[in-house]
């Protein structure tokens, strides 16, 4: 039996400063090509779950705001299932795609996601994880998209038993914790330096 040659994953290149043109053209004043930018609306009337808003900024190693990034989030629905897990076109899928995409504001650097709080999903060993949102960040100067996770500070008991959080020391784990303030979950991302956010290799 001959051994098939395994291909290599295409290497990553930075998204550059103009990622909006391809992924959110309406946001940068290229109207009428796509009806709407994908991922801007995650929830509808039919979506089950607690409505939440996530806001934050991204800072570089000099503490400066990153103003040209794009962020994607991916999460389970309120009952802990990912879109597609129960078969494409399932009821759950129609009500909640689980995927959102937003730019950071070109002037203020702030991002905002309106979504629902996800349910708990099992880790590889079957142990339940605390509710969390996967976050993927691309921008000029980022050579390979950065993956991190947002956890909710008001889920103390679930967080205490989470297999990923438990594997990190307390100071590092705290970089993944979104605090509730004025009805919004605040989640700042620090690419480098003091309180650098934990990034994952999955």
């Amino acid at each position: 039996m001959s051994q098939k040659v395994r291909l290599k994953e295409s290497p990553s290149q930075t998204a550059g400063p103009y990622v909006h043109i391809g992924c959110m053209p309406n946001f940068v004043g290229i109207p009428h090509v796509y009806a709407a930018d994908l991922g801007t609306q995650m929830i509808g009337d039919e979506t089950t779950g607690e409505r939440i808003e996530i806001v934050g900024c991204i800072f570089d190693g000099a503490g400066e705001l990153v103003k040209d990034a794009m962020i994607e989030i991916w999460q389970a629905d309120a009952s802990g299932n990912y879109a597609g897990q129960n078969g494409a076109g399932s009821q759950e899928n129609r009500e909640f795609s689980g995927w959102g995409r937003q730019p950071v504001d070109l002037e203020t650097g702030q991002f905002i996601f309106q979504t629902i709080k996800p349910g708990r999903v099992p880790y590889a060993d079957g142990q339940l994880q605390a509710p969390h949102v996967t976050i993927w960040i691309v921008a000029r100067g980022i050579n390979l998209g950065l993956s991190t996770r947002l956890y909710f500070s008001d889920e103390a008991s679930a967080n205490a038993n989470d297999p990923v959080l438990s594997s990190l020391d307390e100071a590092r784990a705290s970089t993944l914790m979104a605090g509730l303030k004025d009805g919004q979950y605040q989640f700042d991302i620090r690419l480098q330096g003091e309180h650098e956010t934990v990034f994952f290799d999955v």
Binding site: L7, P11, I21, G22, G29, G84, P122, G141, L191, D201
Partner: protein
């Protein structure tokens, strides 16, 4: 538990490192701490699903999708096509590929781009396609121009098209750039050279494809894009036991 196969690990030597000082923007935007390795679970192996209904009829035709009726953008007409495959060579169907690029003069339609070259009133610079049942994709566009960029020296980007690619699992998510065979700027570009292995750079370099060129209309370029695939399991274990 996830009922999809685990994905291979990313090859950190094949991808660019985070800190690549010749590409100056990476200096302050590169994490210094090591990435924390996670075991894969359902959230990594499933991903957003896009139906063909998200596409408009001209989404994959950058020659037409921004042009005024009866007009066309300036530039070399090209077709870009290929397969989206996983590492074991299997086509990935139903996957969304989004592309963006400068116009033929090297200017982006973006408020932050103030390069001297003019905007083209008939070119927007964005397109998107969904792969067919075999993982095949194609789009029509005009060849983008090279352009200078502020990196501290006399740096020019080779002509390139940005790709944003979704697989079936979110851990396959990839953004990269496609270059054109024979472009003398490829080997001079600090962004290209964040990739160390020339074979990896070649993997992003589309080849002129005369076979699919449309006579008296446009030339074709071929680029296959590869995403992470299933981990080798039994077969490899057997090899290890030799």
């Amino acid at each position: 538990m996830a009922d999809r196969p685990m994905l291979s690990n990313r090859d950190a030597d094949w991808h660019p490192e985070a800190f690549t000082p010749a590409y100056r923007s990476s200096i302050l935007r590169s994490p210094k701490q090591k990435l924390i390795t996670l075991q894969q679970s359902a959230g990594d192996l499933f991903g957003p699903v896009f139906g063909h209904d998200v596409l408009g009829p001209l989404d994959g035709d950058l020659i037409k999708n921004f042009a005024k009726s009866g007009e066309s953008p300036i530039g070399e007409r090209i077709l870009v096509h290929g397969y989206l495959l996983d590492e074991i060579g299997k086509g990935i169907p139903g996957a969304l590929i989004e592309v963006w690029q400068a116009n033929a003069g090297g200017r982006y339609r973006h408020k932050n781009d103030d390069y001297l070259a003019p905007l083209d009133p008939n070119f927007g610079g964005c397109g998107r396609v969904i792969t067919d049942d075999n993982g095949y994709y194609s789009f029509r566009t005009i060849k983008p121009g090279p352009y200078p960029w502020p990196n501290g020296g006399n740096d020019w980007r080779p002509a390139h098209i940005h790709y944003s690619v979704f697989g079936s699992g979110f851990a396959q998510r990839l953004i990269t750039q496609m270059y054109f065979e024979g472009d003398p700027h490829i080997k001079r570009c600090p962004i290209v050279n964040t990739i160390k292995d020339p074979a990896a750079i070649d993997q992003l370099t589309a080849k002129l494809d005369m076979e699919h060129t449309v006579p008296m209309d446009l030339r074709a370029y071929r680029l296959d894009v590869i995403l992470r695939g299933p981990r080798s399991t039994l077969f490899e274990n057997k090899l290890e036991g030799n």
